[in-house]
Amino acid sequence: MVRWKEKRKKIIGCVLFCMLSFASFGQKETYINPGLLSASATLSPAIMLNRKEVNYYISGFFEGKITKHFSIRGDGYYLLGNAPTKFLKNKISAFIGFQYGYPFGNLELYTGLAPGFTYMQSNVNTANKEFNPSVQLNAGVRYYVWKYFHFTANFLYTHAQMHNLDRVNGMADELVFSVGLGFNFQALKKYRNPESN
């Protein structure tokens, strides 16, 4: 019983220490400012909405903050090797659009819209390769842990459709999920030392 009490004290102490250091860290330095450039690359699973299939992508983004809330963002997706029984054989997407963020200290919730292009090839007819317009809607959360790093989790809906497949529904809408480590860099000198703000 005594040992358990000691253990509990230690655990509570550790948690309090972490919370206090975390909070004080958050109060002193805020990295979400105009001029912040962010980028990341990660592995993303995707659920197809018109088929019972899951695809895997290498995904990445590059983003620049115009104001504390708004940024311009570019995204790219590359489909990893798929089984021949699946609908998609190849898919590469690129988007550019805007994003709105709600910063809470160094934590940011965001949502955005971006038009783009998608190159697709289906296992239904491998001779057919298409280049189609597409669009993405995304939402996510990010936590900036340091002036060069952040953690990110992103949900994304993409609309894309193949039009040249004969008597086959070419809808290729997907929900893409990605989690990972991102890199960030403050491009504007006046925001590089957040403590001074």
Binding site: F98, P115, H163, N164, D166, R167
Partner: protein, 212 residues
Amino acid sequence: MRYFAVIAFCWLTAFGSHAQPLNIKKNQGGLFSLGVRSTSSFFGDVNSFGFGGQMRLQFADRLNTEWFADFTRGNIQHRANRTDYHIGWSVMYYLTKKLAPAVKPYILAGHCFDRTVIVDNSNKSHQIVKNSSAIQAGAGVHFNLTERLDITLIAQYMFHLGKDVHAHIHDDGELDLSMHKGTGIEGHLLLNVGINYKIADLWYGGKKKERK
């Protein structure tokens, strides 16, 4: 790699220009901006979806011009596909003189050239191509996020002049592509949502020289 470097350079240049305030001469004439947009077409033979880009050059406080190019694709019952290319321009008349209010509505009218290609999915050589001209009119609204950055919604009706192309699927399943000659009018509603960034006031440089 070369393209990536060019895109990265443009991105950083546009981004760098944000750090500077948007300097304008006496009025808003000369404001130059660039943007991208998603386009959806409704009420035509085929509902289609596409991507486009535009540049704007403003001539007066209330008068702006938009020069655009769109690429849309649509599906005809999974038997054929339709691709449309639009390149054209519109004159925009603002209902307010303010530079960047939160909401800036306008009306527009313009002209464009277009190319339509309909292809049979079962036989790619079975296709029909039409080049024509169109006029468009409608209304739009800028949602100004900052002085330089806006999101724009546009609804416009586009009338295509000249020849008209159609895909008919007969009861026996046969696909027939046809072109109706003459001076027919084919129309469809275009809905655009886009993002636009004001690069600079092109007339501003001249003013600086005058001052010197």
